[in-house]
Amino acid sequence: MVTKEELIQAVEEIEEEKSYSLVKALLDEGTNPKEIIDMLRKGVETVGERFNKKEYFLTELVMAGEIFQQSAKILETAMKDEAETSESLGVVVVGTVKGDVHDIGKNIFVTLLQAAGFEVHDLGVDIAVEKFISKVKETKADIVAYSGLLTVALESMKETTEALKSAGLREKVKIIIGGLPVDEMWMKEAGADAYTDNAFKGVKIITNWLRKG
């Protein structure tokens, strides 16, 4: 018998192959796939906490996300048999804003959001204002996340917020901005509600918002 703790620990220790074997073994033993997903989430969560304590680094965060995604693929077939799909924690629209193509951090943020159980719509890089607006409308998003590294990105962030206001959507969403240089000054200029230079903390902020909401 494989125990829950074994899988959680394998993810936490970034033992990739071992994690996949354990996921398969648990599945063979008849464990509910949703329970396995919860174990994986717990493992990723612990990696995130160790990342915040600087025991772990971005590489480990990326690997934990990868282990989660690949495991989810293994579980996909088994999950399909179940009638209802699990409900998401909320809808997040994310993209690197117009004029900027940097997306290392954004991609990790997206993976962690998925691992945490959000419905994520990743628009990609160099995203025009209109694309953000139409996606927010279409998905009835709770959260909009702008990513950017260059100072030109700040202008685009401002414009995107303005456009959300004009479209009457600003009150319906929370806005978070992310990227290595973002700080309180950026947040205020961009008309956002929060900022982060840390993908894991970003997910935490969003989780707290939706919990309170």
Partner: protein, 383 residues
Amino acid sequence: MEPIKEEPMTSVERVMTAIALKEPDRVPVWPLIDYLPVSYYDVTAQEMVEDPDKAQEAYEWIYHKLGGYDIAMAGGGMYMMHVNPFPDIFSMYYLDWRLPGRMLGQKEFPQLVEQSLDDPFMKVSDYDKIIDEGFLRLANFKRAGIKDMTKLSKIGAKVAENTERWWNHFQVPTFSDGGTAIPFELFSVFRGSTNFMKDIYRIPEKIIEVSDFLVDNLILMGEYGISMSGGKTLIVGASRASSDFISIKHFEELFWPYFKKMVTKYVKDGYIVQMHMDTDWTDRLHYFKELPKGKLYLHMDERTDIFKAKEILGDHICIQGNLKPSLFKLGTPTMIEKQVKEIIDKCAEGGGLFVGAEIPDDAKLENVKAMIDTCKTYGVYRK
């Protein structure tokens, strides 16, 4: 344009004194300016890359506009960087560089598109291909074509002229006459950062094998670049082996031995090496003590703690930094003056300090000037 002669030392003397860990007349100041002139002068981003005369004119204009500073850029250098057929993270032969007038408008600034997760430029199988067939096998020569190849030597000659003009006419050292990449950094950029982080876990032995194979060749290629521009300064940069990306264990195994080898060799060969280290290196600064003393300078951005750097490396390596680039767009001269003074108060004593920052291409001039002026007034060493 004429040189600015208002101070006891020339910029060349000042910079060399600081690198040698002694006190010059005042703290040297270096705004790293790439395309800033495009925002204020009659020049396009495309001309900054492709027209070395016009670019030099623009760099000299902004040098005067700001009242002079201590390290300058030679016009045409950008072209050499992007049309370099050797493996380099700036080379358009390898990577999807969006350049003004090519894939961008004339006034837009170059950007590197990060490799896609599913179809990166360099595949896992290319690690072996590099060993079997050489790195050039990965180059896409069609992307630039014959026109760029024939222009390369012509523009190279102009860059050499402009470099010489800064050093001898203006008495100002130039930035990055040649450059080179560390194998780790190359792989991360060529594979895409996320893919490469997975490689670090999945195939570390392969990364070491190819790094061992490449390192001496990369050293030679950096020297080739510098021989074309006729300069003496070399940039060795890294941003993806810091604590913002990898653990100390991975840093020790996959990055540091190669970085150390390259930097040490360049110093031995008599070049002035700038270690251009973006992102947060604070927890690994002590490794830099293994490098030659008083021969190098270490650029850091605001993520690395410059006060810690002074404490750890102050008697070993000249440090340079570390104002936050976006401050030059969003901040005010007063904010900048305050930060510069703090850096000078805590790090200037005994020499071995430059104040500097990378300047965003849309920065406010008064903010850049505030950094320069504060160094010229507040940064004077009183014997």
